[in-house]
Symmetry: C3
Subunit: 276 residues, 3 copies
């Protein structure tokens, strides 16, 4: 009986060619059969199959042992990596929290605001824009007494009503920055706490002017404030030239559905300081 | 020598019945012995035990290889799952931090407060309750000059002394909400920073009245502020009817041990806005 | 043919001495060879090597199975541990965030400040120190109008300009605490938001005096504010005696490079309250 003609061998265990190979499985009628199902004890002994079977077992055992050891090393390495990470995890969390609080403590976003009152910025005009009447505003749950002043938008706030509300859905505020800067980004902020947030700015355009009596305003960008996003949203100004501006005009194009008025809580201008 | 009578076989390796089974272990005197301890070389060869032993080894090797491969697949899957989680972990942390800061930025708890000054709420009376004398308060480390005004409790604060202090351990404050609402929850806040926190409110009851000159006050709930909990604690009002109230009375029942006075830092009323 | 003289055996599988041991590998010309490479079928049968080889395989298989089971138990345990941790991880993050926010809400650092205006502290003098002129300060981007008042350092702030600015790089502020305390720590705070942070205090010394007209000031410590660290930095006072002080003098020794002026945003004094 020949056993080395079998087509299927468990695996190629070794570079050494070990024919005659013992057949481990032989297919008959689509089923897998084992060597011992087809070789009787007598055949097994007389053909010397046990020699090859034993050799094969030896190779397989060696192969399995090696594979097992290799994978066990990988497993240990991976576990160590994970456990090390988890040990560090609490430090990572603590660090992230303290970093986030330090940024929050820095006027919430950690960016210097050249339009802010604290920097020396000011509102110079609100072209074609009427501040909303305070008496009306109160009935919308928000107490706007003495607050609908455009310079509200140049200072920090967290409370409903501390905004500049103007008639309708479109309006402009012209701001003199603390100094002439290359504008890199602007931030629009609206509070979350309001019962009715439909008065929040939606699309807005930002213009720059070199000086108060300067040339035609230059469009720096048109942006959309996302009502479902974070309260403070910073938008990058993408202009490759390094032109500096002292005057910025914020043009609110529309709001989130309130017809009567629109509220701006805070608008900021960030940039590089340049000496002129 | 018969070896198929042994009681103990390592494992049931295969559905195929492979009797005569080689005895792997035989108990003698309570100890486990190995086949090779009880079968001499001569026995091993002459009984043909090696045939069965070899078959058994083959099955066990196959079983172990299969088991190993299956477990290795599970291991890889689990490791991938963990590593994926850890990769996402930093995003989870960042998201949780920014969400928490956004809530904190929304009057600390992210709930609109219909009692707050910002909403239009006001204190209308403090029945049977005497504001604590400012001159006395100073000696308890807290500078209460011009602060022991009941409307203090309707505005944000983080600093010691910015509270309404009243004589004794029991007191009432009647508040007119910004508008008539279905009251869903109230929030009691006390700062952590005080050296002596025994003046904090402990148990308190909340009443609702439909109008300023309304019917008998209706009890909305009795709650306990936990001194060891978070500074701001929100309590749900469980009433299934949808009755709306414009007036809320806060009744402090006792405090955490200070006999002379009790301090309320902030009390808030949350709810659904309903049009009447 | 003797096979038990081989030097190398795969592993010591069992306490039982199983000589004659089958040689698994034999080195010839620096290469590893297998038993089956050196033993012919005839040798294998005639020497009875198969008996020992089989026994060895049996031991190795048993050893590998045991090892595999043990490691699999360890693996499962480790995976469970990791998965349990990850399940708890979100709670850990939430807890850390809310704890950090509660501390932040407690005057940012959660320590009572006996120098603060809220506690009843006050600035009693600024020996040999001239407040910086407001008109000059504005040109450095910071609007210091009406702010360069030493008592600024006894109250919370987050905005640029809300500091006490004094001429030059060295200055003193003498503070009367809310009451006589054992001083345990001091906190120096400088905001991050400034465009130019070179006016931040660098090294400073803290003195204690028992009373306003007391003995010679006692040095409590000399510290360095790290400009790259957190905005608020707390320094422990290491003095083993339990001497109490009512007056504290802050002596700024130098700053981070600004020649004209130095800004102190906040200085705090923490300690144990003691009854005298």
């Amino acid at each position: 009986m020949r056993i080395c003609k079998s087509k299927k061998v468990i695996m190629n265990l070794d570079p050494i060619d070990i024919c005659p190979k013992p057949a481990v499985y032989q297919r008959s009628n689509g089923r897998e059969s084992h060597l011992y199902d087809v070789l009787s004890f007598k055949d097994f002994t007389e053909t010397g199959a046990y020699y090859f079977e034993m050799r094969n077992i030896r190779y397989e055992l060696r192969y399995l042992t090696d594979k097992f050891d290799k994978i066990d090393i990988k497993r240990k390495k991976c576990e160590r990596k994970i456990l090390t990470y988890l040990l560090e995890n609490e430090h990572i969390i603590d660090k992230k929290i303290s970093d986030a609080l330090d940024v929050y403590d820095s006027d919430k976003i950690g960016l210097y605001d050249y339009a802010a009152l604290y920097a020396g910025g000011s509102v110079i005009s609100t072209p074609n824009t009427s501040p909303y009447l305070v008496e009306h505003a109160t009935i919308f749950l928000i107490n706007m007494n003495f607050l609908s002043d455009p310079k509200s938008i140049l200072q920090p706030t967290t409370l409903p009503g501390n905004c500049f509300a103007f008639d309708g859905t479109e309006g402009r505020v012209r701001i003199k920055l603390a100094r002439k800067i290359e504008i890199k980004a602007v931030t629009m902020e609206h509070i979350r706490l309001d019962v009715d947030r439909s008065s929040a700015p939606r699309e807005f355009r930002v213009y720059g002017l070199p000086h108060q009596n300067g040339e035609t305003p230059e469009v720096l960008g048109t942006f959309t404030y996302q009502l479902t996003g974070r309260p403070y949203q910073t938008f990058q100004i993408v202009n490759n030239d390094t032109k500096a501006f002292e005057i910025v005009e914020l043009h609110i194009l529309n709001n989130y559905g309130k017809d009567d008025y629109t509220c701006i809580y805070r608008f900021r201008v960030h940039g590089n300081y340049t000496e002129y």
